[in-house]
C-alpha cells in the first residue's frame, strides 16, 4: 500500500512545462462558460440610452383562450426582442373586457393613450364603435395595429388576420375531396351580419363552381350558440336526408358535446373553421374530418414584431399581414395538440400529445 502511494506520487510529479500546459488547457475548458457568464452579466447591466417601447394589447374578452394564447405570444416576443436589441426594452400591457364589449374596449384605448403608451394592438369587437377611438389614439401620436378583427376605416397602420375568402375556399376544397366531388352539401353560415363570416361564405360559393358534381342545398344562418347551430343542422338534415357534407364557417356546433349524440361519426363529412381544444374530440372520434386552425399565438407575436419593426427599425410594414390557417385532421391531431399546448392552451387530453 505504502509502495503504491509512492509510485503514484512520483507519477503525478509534474514538470513546470506540463503545469503550464495543463493550466492553459484548463483555461480553455473554462473559456466557453466563462464567456457566457460575462455576456450574461453584461446583459443584466442596464446600459445608458435604452429606449422603452410600451405596447398595450387589447383583446375582445379576458377569458377566451384564443386571446390568452395571443397574450402569451405577445409577451414572449417582447422578451425576445428586448434580448435581441440591447438598446430597446419592449413591454406589453394586457387589457381585455370580461365579455365582449366594444365600448369598454374604446375606453381602454383612451386610458392607454392617457397613460402614455407608445402603441396599441387591438382586436375590434365592433369595427365602427372603435374607429373614433383608434383615430384619436393615432392623432395623439400612438401607433395602432389591429388583429383578428379589423377596423378598416380607421387610421390603424396595419391589420394581422386571416384571409377569410381563402379559408372558405380551403374548406370547400377539403370537403370536395372527402365526398369525392359529388353529392349534396350545406353551409352553416353563423351570423349573417358578421363581415368576416360572410367573406368565408363568399369564398365557399366561388369555389363550389369548380365542383359541378356537388350540389349546395343552401347557406343556413343561426345565432352563434351551440344549441342554435345544432338545431339548424337538425332541420337541414331532416329536409335533406341524403346530405353528404357540412361546411361550417365557425365551430359553434362543436363547442360542447351535444353534437356527439345527434350524428353518426363519419356518415356526414364535416369541415369547419377553428380548432380549439374543446373541438378536438370531434376529430379524434371522426365526427369531423377537417378543422381549420388559426395560430392565435401569432396574433400576439406577429403584431409585437410588426410594431417594433415600424417604430424601432423604422421599416415599412405591409398594411395587411395574413395569418395562414392550418388544416387539422386525424393525421396531425397529435402535432396540433402539442402546438396548442405550446401556445398556452389547456384542457387538451394528454393522450393526444403522443399521437
Amino acid at each position: 500500500m505504502y509502495e503504491i502511494t509512492i509510485i503514484n506520487l512520483k507519477r503525478f510529479k509534474m514538470k513546470f512545462s506540463n503545469f503550464i500546459f495543463a493550466l492553459l488547457l484548463g483555461g480553455l475548458v473554462i473559456y466557453s462558460p466563462g464567456c457566457q457568464e460575462i455576456s450574461e452579466e453584461l446583459a443584466d447591466i442596464e446600459p445608458d440610452g435604452v429606449d422603452t417601447l410600451e405596447i398595450t394589447m387589447i383583446a375582445k374578452s379576458s377569458f377566451n383562450p384564443v386571446f390568452l394564447s395571443a397574450k402569451k405570444g405577445a409577451f414572449q416576443e417582447a422578451a425576445e426582442l428586448s434580448e435581441k436589441y440591447n438598446l430597446l426594452h419592449v413591454t406589453v400591457n394586457w387589457e381585455a373586457p370580461e365579455n365582449e364589449d366594444a365600448s369598454v374596449q374604446a375606453e381602454m384605448i383612451r386610458k392607454a393613450v392617457n397613460s402614455g403608451t407608445d402603441a396599441i394592438i387591438v382586436s375590434c369587437s365592433d369595427k365602427d364603435s372603435l374607429t373614433a377611438a383608434i383615430n384619436n389614439a393615432v392623432d395623439a401620436g400612438v401607433e395602432v395595429m389591429t388583429f383578428d378583427s379589423d377596423s378598416p376605416d380607421s387610421k390603424r397602420f396595419a391589420f394581422y388576420g386571416p384571409d377569410d375568402q381563402k379559408m372558405g375556399k380551403m374548406l370547400i376544397s377539403r370537403l370536395a375531396e372527402l365526398i369525392d366531388g359529388k353529392g349534396k352539401i350545406a353551409i352553416l353560415g353563423g351570423n349573417p351580419h358578421a363581415p368576416n363570416l360572410q367573406e368565408r361564405v363568399a369564398g365557399m360559393i366561388d369555389t363550389l363552381a369548380q365542383f359541378p358534381g356537388i350540389e349546395n342545398v343552401g347557406v343556413f344562418y343561426h345565432n352563434e350558440t351551440e344549441d342554435d347551430a345544432i338545431a339548424q343542422m337538425d332541420s337541414v338534415q331532416k329536409m335533406h336526408p341524403d346530405l353528404k357534407g357540412w361546411a361550417m364557417v365557425g365551430s359553434w356546433a362543436l363547442f360542447g358535446n351535444k353534437l356527439l349524440e345527434k350524428i353518426e361519426p363519419g356518415k356526414i363529412k364535416i369541415v369547419a373553421v377553428d380548432a380549439l381544444p374543446v373541438q378536438l374530440k370531434y376529430i379524434k372520434q371522426n365526427y369531423v374530418q377537417v378543422l381549420l386552425g388559426q395560430p392565435t399565438y401569432r396574433w400576439g407575436k406577429t403584431t409585437v414584431e410588426a410594431i417594433v419593426k415600424k417604430m424601432h427599425e423604422k421599416e415599412k410594414v405591409k398594411e395587411i399581414l395574413r395569418l395562414e390557417a392550418i388544416p387539422v385532421t386525424i393525421e396531425n391531431l397529435g402535432g396540433w395538440s402539442r402546438q396548442l399546448r405550446a401556445w398556452g392552451y389547456t384542457n387538451i387530453p394528454e393522450e393526444y400529445f403522443v399521437l
Binding site: 512545462s17 506540463n18 503550464i20 500546459f21 492553459l24 488547457l25 480553455l28 475548458v29 473559456y31 466557453s32 464567456c35 455576456s39 446600459p47 414572449q76 425576445e80 435581441k84 436589441y85 440591447n86 438598446l87 430597446l88 386552425g293 395560430p295 395562414e324 392550418i326 387539422v328 385532421t329 393525421e331 396531425n332 391531431l333 397529435g334 402535432g335 396540433w336 395538440s337 402539442r338 402546438q339 396548442l340 399546448r341 405550446a342 401556445w343 394528454e350 400529445f353 403522443v354 399521437l355
Partner: protein
Amino acid sequence: MSTKVSQQTPEKDRISNGQKFAYGLGGIVNNLLGGAIGFMSIVLNVGLGINPALVGTLQAIPRLTDAITDPIMGYISDKTRSRFGRRRPYIFIGAICVGLIFALMWQLPPGNSEMFYFWFFLIGSIIFYLFYTMFATPWVALGYELTSDYHERTRLMGVMNFMGQFAWISLPWFYAIMENDRLFSDSVEGACTLAIVIGIFVAIVGAVPAIFLKERFAATEDDSEHKKESMLAGIKKNVAEFSKGLVTTVKRPEFLKLCAGTFFLFNGIMLVGAFSSYITIFYVCGGDNDMGAKYMGLFGTINTISTLISIAVVTWISSRIGKRKTFIIATSITMIGSLLKWFSYDPMAPWKVLLPAPMIAVGMGALFTLMGSMIADVCDLDELETGERREGMFGSIYWWMVKLGMALAFGLSGYLLNATGFVVEYGGAQNSSTFFYMRLVDVLIPAGAALIAIFAVGSFKITEEKAYEIRSELEKRRGNEVKEVVALQGE
C-alpha cells in the same frame, strides 16, 4: 485473443507539450477559418439584403476551387525545398495572408447594389480560400510528420482536436456579437470589426506553429535534376508527377478506408443535424421555439463537454488497445446513441432529448483524433512503397473530401426534409407521418452511416505491430540519411 503490451514511446519521438500546444493553436485557427464565413454570411442576407440563393452560391463556389487547389497545394508543399522546411514557410505566410484577406473581404462599402456585393465577396472568398489552403494544407501535413511514433501521433491529434473545439464553441457567438447594438450601429459594421479582430488573431496565432515547430523531413528528390530542366519541362514533369501522385494516393486502400470511415460517420451526423433541431422544436416541444432552443442549447453544451472528455479518453484508450479498436468502440457508442434518439424524442418528457448527446459526441471526438493519427501511419506505409513522403497530398485529399461531404450533407438535408412532407408554416402541427419519417431519417442515417464507417475502418490493416514494422523498415532504409531539417527555432 492475445493480450498485447503496447510499445512505449521513446524519448526521441516524444513531442513536448509546448509543441503540441503550438500545433493545437493551428487547429483553433483552422477551425475558426473553416467556420467563420458560414457563421458570418448571414450578414450578407440580413444586413445587405443579398438573395439567400446568391449567398448559397457564394459558399458553394469556393468548394469547387478547393477541389483543385487543395491537392495542388499538398503537392507543392511535399515537393518544396527550402532552408525553413517544406511546410513552415507556407504556414507562416499563409496565416498572415489569410488573416489579412479575411479582414479585408468583410470591409463591405455601403450603398452598393446586390450584384456588387456578390462579386466583391465572391472574389474575396476565392482569394481567401486560396490563402486558407496555403495555410491549412501544410499545417495538416506537418501534424502527420511531427513524430514517427504510433501513439505519440494520437496524443498530438488529441491535443489538436481538443483545442480546435474551442473555435467551434466561439463560432455561434459571432452573430450575437455582430448584432449587438451596444457595440455596432448594424450587423454589417459588426461584421467589419469582427473580421478585423479575427484577422489579427489568425495572423498571429496561425503563425505560431510555423515559428515553434520543427520539421522532420525534407523533400526527397535530388535537386540537381531540377536545375538541368527548362521551365516548361519542369512544369510538364510536375503535372505528370502530380497526376501520378494523386492517382497513387486515391488508390491506396488503407487511405480510402479512412476516407470512407470519415465520410460516413461525419456526414451521417452532419446530414441530420438540422433534423434533430426540427424534431426537438416541432415534435418534442410542440412548436415552442423558446423551449426547443433551450433544449438544443443544452444538447450542444453537453455534446461539447462530452466531445472534449471523449477526446482525452479516446487518446488514452487508443494507446492501450490501438487506434482501430478504439475507433470501432467509439463509433459503436455513437451508433447506439443515434438509435437511442428514437426513444428519447418524447413530447411528454422533453428532457429525454439530452440523453443521447454524450454518446453521439464520443464518435465525433474520436474521429478527428484517430483519423489524423492513422493517416500519418498510412503516410509511412506509402513511403515504404513509393519512397516519398506525401503528407501534403494525403492531408489535402482527406480534408477536401471532408469539406465536400459537409457541403453535400447540408445540401441534401433540405431535400430530405421536404421529402418527409415537412411544411414550415404548420409549425408543430405536422402530420404524424411527417414526424415519423423525420425521426426515422434522424435515427437511421447516422446509425447506418456509423455502421458503414465501422466496417470500412474495421479492415484497416495498419495495426500497432504493423506500424512499428513499417517504421523499423523505414529507419533501416533511411539509416543516417534521414534528412532532418534544422528548424528556425526548436526545442
